[in-house]
């Protein structure tokens, strides 16, 4: 998915929350869970069902010292991976 107008959202039955026991973000999904790494957490906190892919890339490009094109590639790859795992949907 390279359409920057597309809007990613958490799939039905998926929750993304901070766990105070582990002091870590967790993705809770139907009979599976993921402990996302720092990069995935940065992206998932921007997935709110309203922001477009383009807006998510803009936000990360403004915060991290890397070219927008590089970030766009990384974000698209990670989001598609999360879609394939059933965590996100377009």
């Amino acid at each position: 998915m390279n359409d920057e107008a597309a809007i990613p959202a958490l799939a039905v039955g998926v929750k993304f929350r901070f766990d105070t026991v582990r002091q870590a973000w967790v993705v809770l999904a139907p009979e599976r869970l993921f402990l996302p790494d720092e990069q995935a957490v940065a992206i998932l906190t921007l997935v709110d069902g309203a922001r477009t892919l383009g807006a998510i890339i803009d936000d990360l490009a403004a915060r991290f010292d890397a070219s927008r094109a590089l970030i766009a590639g990384d974000v698209a790859t990670m989001l598609q991976d999360l879609v394939d795992k059933g965590v996100l949907r377009w």
Partner: protein, 368 residues
């Protein structure tokens, strides 16, 4: 070195052994509890509090059939208030639209409905419940209409495996986000029914190819979890992700177990949540420490480079097939007992024998 024990990820709450179905591969023990032996609502609520405080993230409401419990909605509401992700594992035959509505309002996150086959007649024969299949389909549709995330669970074996493509179609048509194609694991009631259930190697290979093709076709739309049978495997499974590592199970009567089959192990005393907190059990119970990590391992596990991948496989399978829970899982081809697995496959009859159905009258023992 400090020996830290990570908190469990999941609590499997077996609310009851009562169930309208009689599946011959049920993972419940062959000794069943009646309702009088079940934990009451207040105790379950306390267990949920203790689980959340201990670090449990997901609650799996199981059984038996959990919807026979009158307090199911109340327990789901309590779990939601604690931030626990709640998963209802059900046969679906008692799950009507009004109950679904109440469960959704209480905060239920996900429902898993089991189907015994894609063919209605055979499904009802395997489950031992006339009309069950139709009720399950109705429940699955109602779950989607209620906006719930839905998993369909198909336990597969030699008496329904040819229907696998139709099972995947049902999952797609009903709008499930996830489907489990789980070959029978030979514990509980499945072990005495092994000859009636175990597929041939060729049947297994066909099923695996079907699943692989469907995964490609349905990528991003339907998650397919596939559980292969140990009896045709070269390496064992990481049972429960390792003993005392990720899951804690509480039985209807309140026993805390590292796995829902562990009560079958002779010689281990499992603590009761009626007497101890979940945290005390997780951190201190000798039965949880017994097979945790790698230090208990015999050879060939001890020096195996997969010892922290499969954690020695399944303790209950080792016990069931060798009489000694501390041996390497015989499913592993490196196990000195692997011949017991090969012999069972070789001795498999051409025609499947009759089922021994899971019912109180066939139970080895009944606890009131």
């Amino acid at each position: 070195m400090v020996n830290t024990i990570d908190p469990p990820m999941g609590l499997v709450a077996e609310l009851t052994h009562r169930c309208p179905l009689q599946c011959p591969y049920c993972a419940n023990p062959v000794a069943l509890h009646r309702s009088g032996a079940e934990l009451d609502t207040a105790t379950w609520r306390r267990v949920l509090h203790e689980a959340a405080a201990l670090g449990v993230l997901q609650l799996h409401l199981s059984g038996g059939e959990p919807t026979v419990r009158k307090d199911l909605v109340e327990l789901v509401r309590a779990a939601a208030a604690l931030g626990l992700y709640s998963n209802l594992i059900t046969s679906g035959v008692l799950l009507d639209a009004p109950l679904l509505q109440r469960l959704v309002q209480a905060g239920l996150d996900h429902v898993q409905i089991s189907l015994q086959d894609a063919d209605p007649g055979n499904a009802d024969r395997i489950g031992g419940f006339a009309g069950g299949h139709a009720r399950k389909l109705t429940a699955a549709r109602a779950a989607r209409q209620a906006g719930l995330a839905l998993t369909l669970n198909f336990v597969v074996h030699r008496q329904n495996l040819t229907q696998l493509p139709a099972m995947l179609d049902i999952a797609e048509v009903l709008g499930a986000g996830r489907v489990e194609i789980a070959h029978v694991q030979y514990h509980g009631w499945a072990l005495p029914n092994r000859d009636a259930l175990l597929p041939s190697r060729a049947e297994l290979d066909r099923a695996t190819a079907t699943v692989e093709a469907a995964r490609q076709r349905l990528k991003g739309r339907l998650v397919i979890d596939y559980v292969v049978p140990d009896y045709h495997a070269r390496r064992p499974k990481a049972c429960m992700g390792g003993w005392g590592r990720r899951f804690i199970t509480v039985t209807p009567a309140g026993k805390a177990l590292p796995c829902h089959v562990a009560e079958s192990l002779a010689g281990l005393a499992f603590p009761s949540v009626r007497e101890q907190s979940l945290a005390a059990i997780w951190h201190d119970a000798p039965a949880f420490a017994r097979f945790r990590g790698t230090s208990w391992m015999p050879e060939p596990c001890r020096s195996c480079d997969r010892r922290e991948i499969d954690w020695g496989g399944c303790r209950c399978q080792a016990f069931a097939l060798t009489g000694d829970a501390s041996r390497t899982d015989p499913a592993c081809e490196k196990s000195p007992d692997h011949a017991t697995i090969l012999a069972a496959v070789a001795a498999r009859s051409t025609t499947p024998p009759d089922f021994t159905y899971r019912r109180y009258t066939n139970a080895r023992e009944i606890v009131d």
